[in-house]
Structures are given as structure tokens and as C-alpha cells.
Symmetry: C2
């Protein structure tokens, strides 16, 4: 879908690498450069039995990789040359490195005036922040977890990093469109804390705090503002059922056999549970009815009944269970393919969740071997000869 688009990436960890990877998975030529021996994220856990980082290979699929001595003047000039290499679809640089000195927009755009550079920082002032420190600041850990707890619960999913990577990819395509229409390049900056705080605002928490002056309390696993929670079946399985639409609500009542009890409850409380706010306010009474049903019903029967009534529900699983049992996480789903990942072996790998009608045949690519594309990239983008490339290797300016 993005074939022809070329992005040079100087990155580490989750946000920038995942942003570049999403572009690569859509067909862009994304060239990640790393210092010789790999960057700070090259050996991050989890590790494959042979020692390769599954973190690195999972976040860098479909890219080309070059190794360059970034401390040498010559190595830095090579990177600048790659970023400035000609082409309508080239001249794009995605980075989460500090955009200072030779990596600054001023320095980079001196070599190509229509450069598009997307620079990710921790905070808007350029200072450091990572997903976990940002998450502490935005308040979710103190709104997550058991109702009776007063300790924060950190998220395990680095959600801000992932969202930041997506925003970076979006910003790059928006700037590409702008340049195509106007010829103008630009610096696009993106701070991880801005990603998090804008999301918190977009989800209503900032307005709620400001206008209502109330801290939304810990709700445990209860869904805020509607009907939803987890329940345990007679055979000890756990499921979540959510009722947002009227159809889902009525289906849930039918499926769990509590229609009459709920009608009685409406009468008792003088409320109308077709209003989702009422379902939320009186959730404890409603949950008790579903709990009672779940406690005396085995999972298979619950599942059949929820399905038959068109309910919105799901079982709880874990990473192992998802990989073992969920057909959505298997090669039955074209997004997942078995990939022969160098250094790791055959692994179930995900492509882009976007399915393009005009690009139906999707192949999920492996991550590159570090530096595997050094020579080819130097030849393709900088027009270096084999002798020149060999000389750079000999002098330790590049590797791979």
C-alpha cells in the first residue's frame, strides 16, 4: 500500500520502532540504522532460547537494517546522506533520538530542504519520560485495580508507547501528503506525555475532573457508565459480559434468565434499566443476579446461552491460552503467519491489522538480521561502489 515510500529510522524501544514497523508492514521501505553491535534495545527481554531478543524481532519486522559507527564523523555523514537521498517518496526521517547536533532538524534539513522529520520526545520540552513514568502522571494506575486497594496498579501493556508509535506514523503520512501537495517539508514533533494526556482528555477524564471536581473512584473490573463486569462460572471459568445497546441488555437478561428479577428490581427502585446510567448506578444489585446465575452454571452452558442471545461477552484467557486456543491468534487468521525469523526460528508473527482491498496478498516479513542490509543500502541510496563499501567496513565505519 505504501510501496515506494522510504523512511530512515533512528530509534530504540517501542514507540518509534513500532511506528516505523507499521509503515513497513504496509509496504514502505523502512531502513533502521543502529550503532555497530546494536542499540540499547537490541538485547531486551524476552529472549529466545538462543538468546535473540523477541522484543527486538517483534518490533522491527519488515525493515532493512544497517550498522553504522554513529560516533564517527563519517558514520554520521552516511546517515545524513541516507536521510537526504533523493526521491519524491524519500527524505523522511523518524527518530526518538535527541534531535540535537548532527541529528537536529536544522542539520538534517540543510542537506535536503524538503525533509520530513518526525521527532519523538518524552516531554514537550524534550526532557526524558518513558511509558511507565508518563502512566504514573496521568492517573490511570490510581483508577485501576481492586476497589478496596489504595495502591496504584501499573499497566503491563505499554499503551502510551504503542499509541505514540501510531501517531508518529500518522504524522509522517500527513506530512507526506502536505509535501506532495505543496512541496514543503517540515519538522513534526511528538511528545509521549502529550500522547498520554491528550488521550486522557479525549476520553473525558480531564473535563470530568475539571467540571465535576471528582476523582473517578476505582471500580475494580466494573465498566464505567454502563453494564459490564467479570463473573465466575460453576466450573471456575471466568467471563466478561458487557451490555451497552438495548439489544445487548435484553439479550443478557434472557441469556442469564433474570428478566423477571430485573423487572421486579426496576419496580422496587423506580428506575428504568433501558437507561445505561441506571444500569451503572445500580450495578451491584444487577451484578448479584448475574453472579447467582453464573455460580450455578458451567461455562459451556453459559457460552451457549450468551451466544444464542446475541450477547457481547468474552472469556478470560492468558498469553499462553490465547496462542494455544484462540483461532483469531493463529494462521486461520490471515494477519498471522508463520515466519522464519533469523536467530529465532519459526514464529507466529502478526502483520498489520489493516486489510486493504487493493493489496490483498499480504506476506508478514521477519525482522532483519542486524546490519544485513548495510551494503545494499549504501549502494542503492548513496551509489557507493563495492570498493568504497569495503573500505568503510575495513575502517569500522559500517558493519553488517
Amino acid at each position: 500500500m505504501l510501496s515506494g515510500l522510504r523512511v530512515i529510522e533512528g530509534s530504540a524501544f517501542v514507540a518509534a520502532p513500532s511506528g516505523g514497523m507499521h509503515l513497513a508492514l504496509l509496504g514502505a521501505d523502512v531502513i533502521r540504522f543502529d550503532p555497530i553491535g546494536g542499540s540499547i534495545d537490541y538485547t531486551r527481554w524476552p529472549l529466545a532460547p538462543g538468546g535473540s531478543s523477541l522484543y527486538w524481532t517483534s518490533l522491527n519486522k519488515g525493515k532493512r537494517s544497517i550498522q553504522v559507527d554513529l560516533r564517527s564523523e563519517e558514520g554520521r555523514e552516511i546517515v545524513q546522506g541516507l536521510v537526504a537521498a533523493p526521491g519524491d517518496n524519500a527524505g523522511m526521517f523518524l527518530t526518538n533520538f535527541p534531535a540535537r547536533g548532527w541529528l537536529s532538524y536544522e542539520s538534517m534539513s540543510a542537506k535536503r530542504s524538503d525533509l520530513i522529520m518526525v521527532a519523538i520526545t518524552g516531554n514537550p520540552d524534550g526532557s526524558t519520560a518513558v511509558d511507565y513514568t508518563v502512566n504514573a502522571a496521568v492517573g490511570y494506575p490510581n483508577a485501576t485495580g481492586p476497589v478496596d486497594s489504595d495502591e496504584p496498579v501499573n499497566h503491563v501493556l505499554p499503551a502510551w508507547d504503542v499509541i505514540c508509535g501510531q501517531q508518529a506514523a500518522l504524522g509522517l503520512l500527513a506530512a507526506d501528503r502536505h509535501r506532495r501537495l505543496t512541496g514543503e517539508g517540515q519538522l513534526v514533533t511528538l511528545a509521549l506525555s502529550d500522547v498520554a494526556m491528550s488521550t486522557v482528555a479525549n476520553l473525558g477524564h480531564v473535563a470530568e475532573a475539571e467540571l465535576l471536581g471528582e476523582q473517578r473512584p476505582r471500580l475494580g473490573n466494573d465498566l464505567y457508565g454502563a453494564f459490564g463486569r467479570d463473573f465466575v462460572t460453576s466450573d471456575g471459568e471466568r467471563f466478561i459480559v458487557v451490555a451497552i445497546s438495548i439489544k445487548q441488555w435484553q439479550g443478557t437478561l434472557e441469556a442469564t434468565g433474570i428478566t423477571d428479577a430485573v423487572t421486579e428490581l426496576e419496580r422496587e427502585l423506580g428506575v428504568d434499566f433501558t437507561d445505561e446510567g441506571a444500569r451503572f448506578e445500580h450495578r451491584d444489585r444487577l451484578f448479584a443476579l448475574v453472579e447467582d446465575y453464573a455460580r450455578r452454571t458451567p461455562m459451556a452452558e453459559v457460552a451457549a446461552s450468551l451466544d444464542a442471545n446475541g450477547c457481547c461477552w468474552g472469556r478470560y484467557s492468558d498469553f499462553l491460552g490465547m496462542v494455544r486456543d484462540d483461532p483469531r491468534c493463529s494462521t486461520a487468521n490471515p494477519m498471522f503467519q508463520r515466519v522464519d525469523q533469523p536467530g529465532v526460528g519459526s514464529v507466529l508473527s502478526a502483520g498489520s491489522p489493516l486489510r486493504f482491498g487493493a493489496d490483498a496478498e499480504v506476506v508478514v516479513p521477519p525482522a532483519p538480521v542486524l546490519g544485513a542490509d548495510t551494503d545494499q543500502v549504501l549502494e542503492d541510496l548513496l551509489g557507493l561502489s563495492s570498493a568504497e563499501i569495503a573500505d568503510l567496513h575495513d575502517r569500522g565505519v559500517v558493519a553488517g
Copy 2:
């Protein structure tokens, strides 16, 4: 940045509305259509004191809004006409409604062959799933929360919805680029479960489960694979400190005065803590040293020391505290502006976290009043006369 781009949006809840909003915040003309009286998400909690949904206003900033009777043939034709309206930058439809019947790609593209339609579903087969049911399936709730708990912890941030919205915006811009280069439109589909499962795979959990056959255990608030956790100070404040780079690690040792104790621990255990894997494996011993420092030091002193040593750290806050105290969540940050939101009043609102050098003056727009743009849109896009529009109002086909 995206000025001129026009997207028709038929949506509800978080994923599709936030995807459209991100395009609107970058300057696209996003026109959301709703049934007369508003869609299922129009009154979702949290509510402003006057009753307006802060959920809806926070997720629909910068759009135009029209109200159409979607059950009538004539209303449906109006929506199809808007989607098919001419223009190189138009002919784009973003939706999470079931893409069947009059809303199907076949039906929509019959009116404009180069249509770009981005259709979000719950599961790849088109069946329903919501953020909370998908989250239960992918395993994070069983990896989140206190180490000694055996109950799942649901996330409060609807991360999958947010990421899905971003992917939808990315897919739309990728398809726009493709059409610009080839003239070809297309259907782009995107399943919420695919968004979640690809993310889980990209973060290494699928490869870890498959290759190591191990369930990653609950780690409480410990950062996996490196050094990081929350600590409580002598005055009862809580902070997180994360050490990933060597510089951050050495800064943390200096800041907390445990350099010598850690050197001794390295000797005792025969390990080298410049390896982040070793820091993770022996984290309990290391955490005990930092705990001891934090327990006898007030927050102000901790903060000064961590800052002076260039540490990566942050305080825990909550939504109220963030809005009250964090300058990053205030008009000191140009991303946040005070907006006069109809039906709500003055609220602190967030624009896009992307800052474009070529588009420096950003104004954060309010959400529209439901149906406020009905007449203008019918005139602009369909060329209807005032008399024709008045007639549609009289017959209840449109409202606003």
C-alpha cells in the same frame, strides 16, 4: 495539515470517533452523521452538570455534525450522496456500523467507484467485540495487578479502542496516498481483535508464549526485563523510577546513595548490574535498597536528588491531581486550550499531540452541537436549495 481532506463518518463509541477526530484535529473536514436525536453514544457518561455527555464532546472535537433519519430511504440516500460527493480529496467513509445493505462497500462504491471506505468491526469475521471483551481474550488482565492476586484486572483505559482509532486514521491516509498515485479506491477493513492481537504479538508476548511455553507471571508494578518499580517516600508520596540506560542506572544509584551497597551485592551474587537482565532477575534485592532509601527520605528531597542525577522517574498522580498540578496538562502546553464547548461551558481541551512545523498556529476546536451543520452540509456537498432543505426538515428526513 490535512486541510481539504473530507471524511464522512458514521460511528459511535471510541474507536471510529477518535480516528475521525484525529483527522479533524489535523484540519480535515470530518462530517459525522447521526440518527435524529443522536446515536447510542450521545448520552454516555461522564455527564456535565447540565447533562451533556463529556464522553461525546471529548471524542468529537472539530467535526461537523448532521442529523439524518437513517431508517428512511431518503435519509440513506442523503448519506450515500455525501459519501459519493465529488472532489479529489473527498469520497472517504469511515465507519464502525455494520457494513451491510445500504452501508456496504458494494452499495457505497456503486455511487463513486474510487471510494475509500474504512470499516471497523469487532472480530475479523464481522461479529461483535468491544474493547473489554477483546482485552479479556488477549491475556493482559491476567498479567496485571498485585503479584499475589489470582483475579484478572481489567484496564480502565480502553487501549484497544484508542489504538484502533489511530490505525483507522492511518489506513485512511495510506489509502488516500494510494488513490492519489493510482486513482484506485478500496475497502479497508480493520478488526478490533486484530488490533489487540497484533499489538500483543508486536510486544513479544506471542513469541514468548510459543517459544518459551511460559506464562509471563504477574509482576505487580515491577517493570519486566529491566529495573523499575514504585516506591513510597517518608512523607507517604509515591514515585516510580526506571533505569534502562547505563546512565539512568548509575544516576539511580547515585541519587539514592546505594552505589556501594550495589557494588557489594554484585560481588556477593557474582553478577554485573550493567546488564539489565541481571537487574531484573535480582530486582528484589535491588528494590530493597531503594525502598530503604525512600522510606527515610521526604518526596521533595527524593525529587531533587533524582533530578540532579538525570534519573528517569515520575510521581504518581490521579486525574484530579494531573489537571490541578501538572503544567503539561494546562494551557502552559499549547496542546491544551480552553474551549467554549456548547452545552458544557469552558473546558480544558486537547488538540493533536502532533506538532507540525508547517502549521504552527493550532486552535483546538469544540465538538459540534448535534446537527448544527445539517443545512450547510446539504448545501455544500449536495447543492440543495434552502427550499429543498426546508422540505427535508418538514418531513423529518433531517434535523438540526
